[in-house]
Amino acid sequence: MVAEFGFSILAVSFFVAIYSGIAAAFGVKKQSSALIESARRAQLLTFPLISLAAASLIYLLVKNHFEVSFVYQVTSKSMPTYLKVTAWWGGQAGSLVFWSWLLAAFTSAVTLRKWNRDIEFLPWIIVISAITLTFFLGLVVFFENPFTRFWQDASGQILMGMNGDPIKSVFMPSGALAPFIPADGRGLNPLLRHPGMVIHPPMLYLGFVSFVIPYAFAMAALITGRADDRWIRLTRRWALWAWLFLSLGLVFGGRWAYDVLGWGGYWGWDPVEIAAFMPWLTGTAFLHSVMIQEKRGLLKHWNMLLIILTYELVIFGTFLTRSGVLSSVHAFANSPIGPMFMGFVSLSLIASVALLIKRWPELKSEVEMKSMLSREALFLLNNLLFIGILVVCFWGVISPLASELFTGTKITVGPPYYERATGPLFAGLLFLMAVAPLSAWGHSTVQTLGRALWKTFAAAAVITLILFFAYTHNGYALLGFFLVAFVLLTTLQEFWRGASARMSAQKENFFVALSRLAKRNRRRYGGYIVHISMALMAIGILGIEIFQMETQGTVAAGQSLELGEYRVEYRELASWDDIGAGVNYTRSVVDIYENGIYLGKLYPRIDYYYDSQQNMTIPGQHATLRDDLYILLVDWQPVSAQGATFKIYVNPLVNWLWIGSLLFIFGLVFAAWPDRDPAEAPVRRKVRAENKQAIG
């Protein structure tokens, strides 16, 4: 009953989405505001409709309706209720519904805003989002339906199709008597039963879907021919929030990998990870380069291109991250929806670029970029570096396809390729992060920049020298730490300069001055906080990538393993079943010492899930700002429980990665927080007037 209802509602919302798009386009053509209003209402209707369908799906998941194939795939009786709910996005079909639901919600938020200005954008935004929504709902309705069920014939046997798979359909096929109800579901992969994994996909999806809104505005601007930067101003916050969620999705994913996958790492350059990373790269470039357009009227084509790329990479990423074609892009054609995705990406890319070319002359820059060291030139360089990293990633992902096409042998590249090729580009970005904020709009010279930067440059050099004599001779590490110190000192100096100016002018104390300063220009100082957080994250990445230590061994109770300054002494081990949860726990107890001083106990363990016959290795972690002691239980002797095998990592500085992530959230929320005074708009006019004076 519920399955039929859910499916019918999805089908209805599919047609409503189509209607809203067509009505909006015709409304513009016929200049009928009634038709546009009807399109708007239809768009608003998609959200409650998809919510109902989603509610039906959640009901089926929570109530163990295993005759529904999606429920059978992603849940089992032993799973707690909250995991059954989040299993909604635990499989392909459900996550496509989730995507559609978010898109309907966000578009509704846009169409519900006060449209007294810029009303000409409205119908086109409805059209763009309706096309996207129609595509996703179409996939759900025709190809990846979460409501299909298993069926049985009169003898109680499951109905099989011609290809040897069970028949799955929403409505009763001929020859069927009743739905076939498996006794239990297969259950969510235990690796995914982790709080990090519960929120990681929705964060990524929030980020993905929010980027559709700036794209829709950009397309609306191209279609209506409004070549000014109104679309950028209207979507600035959308882009910031999108970027925040996407970043959070990546960070949660990294933390999950670190806690659960048991290889002492957080990022493996897997194609699935890269798929989520690529729109982040173009999105980051976009956030920077729109500032150039707002302040200087430059790079208009470039911004359009960036948002188009981001949108296409979002669609592509959605497909890659959820299609289960794990770790090998050459497995594309496996899924029936693969070609659909490639088709949609190609068509929308061609259409968007064609529109951009049509409006090309109207998007001419208002001034010319003059100085190689001006802020806008350095921002452009930043953009090129981001795109460079994107190209490296894209080449890495498609290398098996490309090499087979051109040379006949299939070649792939692993993490060392990405590390080697992106390393210099990331270093360049860090350098720019220190230099660019101090360069001036319009014109800077080596002298002006040098005067602003020499102190922090010298201080960073001194810190690097200290590191060289006291800690490490590794050249990459020293260069990295130098750049990090340069960024941190220069950015902090900027806070200090602004605050001390206020302190003397307004007679405020330091903290009041600092907070008022930052609040007066949220985007700028929020951006600086994000820069600081990036530098902190870089510390963590340099630490774990360059200085990670590991050892492994089998020890009897009372014996110990040593690594660096740590000693790990094995005490005991216990193994027991939790029947209700369907899990067997094997937990070891170890004492840890640092330079002979007792620090405490850790409990590395292995959880064995009976329903999926799969292990999950949970490390014991001792985290400090200096390093992370990370202990994995690998194996044990079941009879005597006398000996156990451990793998131990020391991951220096890695916690700065997570500290940086927290600061990053703060900085971005600070930057995106709604301002009361819209003081930004007149700024550019002033700058332009000044330029005219300078030129004339």
């Binding site: 005759e67 059978y72 795939q73 499989g91 392909q92 298993f150 049985q152 499951i158 099989m160 040897g164 798979d165 069970p166 009743a178 109800i181 498996p182 006794a183 239990d184 297969r186 289960g324 794990l326 770790s327 050459h330 496996n334 010319e368 970029m369 003059k370 190689m372 030139a377 360089l381 090129l384 570096l385 460079g388 190209v391 490296v392 080449w395 290398s399 090499s403 042998t409 299939k410 070649i411 792939t412 590249v413 060392p416 390729y417 080697r420 090729a421 210099p424 580009l425 492994q552 089998t554 999926s612 016959q613 799969q614 999950m616 290795t617 994995l632 690998v634 194996d635 095998t645 793998k647």
Partner: protein, 160 residues
């Protein structure tokens, strides 16, 4: 004049990125191979970076937990997904590869933690090098389990 400077700058950056990609690809390329292809190349493949895939033969899995040395045999499966689909899907192909004694096999050695997913008829995807002794030394071991595949048939009948 200004324009020229920017174009030159852009070209230089582009050249740098292309150089980074080309040299890194060259230094880190791994060749996709099946067990059949690797055996056919034999000595010529020794010390070449290879990404090898095959079906794990359950009886041959041996693990020495004191040295963390894992050895097992893999049987040849097609490298191409279209071919796998044509032969009835991954689970079937893996099963047939393991039960067929005439299939090409190769011994794999891996040092490290025994992966949770390693079991009979799993698909192993490894990167590593073929040793002169004919053993494939894997640096990295990834496993896919056909039982986790979405198309698997429900086993238990309903108690309705």
């Amino acid at each position: 004049m200004q324009r020229k400077k920017f174009i030159i700058g852009g070209v230089l950056i582009l050249a740098a990125v292309v150089y980074l990609i080309a040299s890194s690809t060259k230094a880190n390329a791994e060749y996709f191979m099946t067990v059949d292809e690797l055996n056919a190349e034999g000595a010529a493949a020794v010390s070449k970076s290879v990404r090898l895939s095959g079906a794990v033969v359950g009886d041959t899995i041996q693990y020495d937990s004191s040295t963390l040395t894992l050895t097992f045999d893999i049987a040849d499966v097609p490298g191409d997904n279209a071919q796998i689909e044509a032969q009835g899907g991954l689970a079937k192909v893996l099963h047939e590869a393991v039960v067929d004694p005439t299939r090409a096999r190769i011994k794999v050695q891996y040092e490290g933690v025994m992966p949770d997913l390693l079991r009979d008829e799993a698909q192993a995807i490894m990167t590593g090098k073929l040793g002169a002794d004919g053993v494939f030394y894997a640096d990295e071991l990834l496993l896919k389990c056909p039982t986790k595949y979405e198309e698997a048939v429900p086993e238990q009948a309903a108690a309705k």
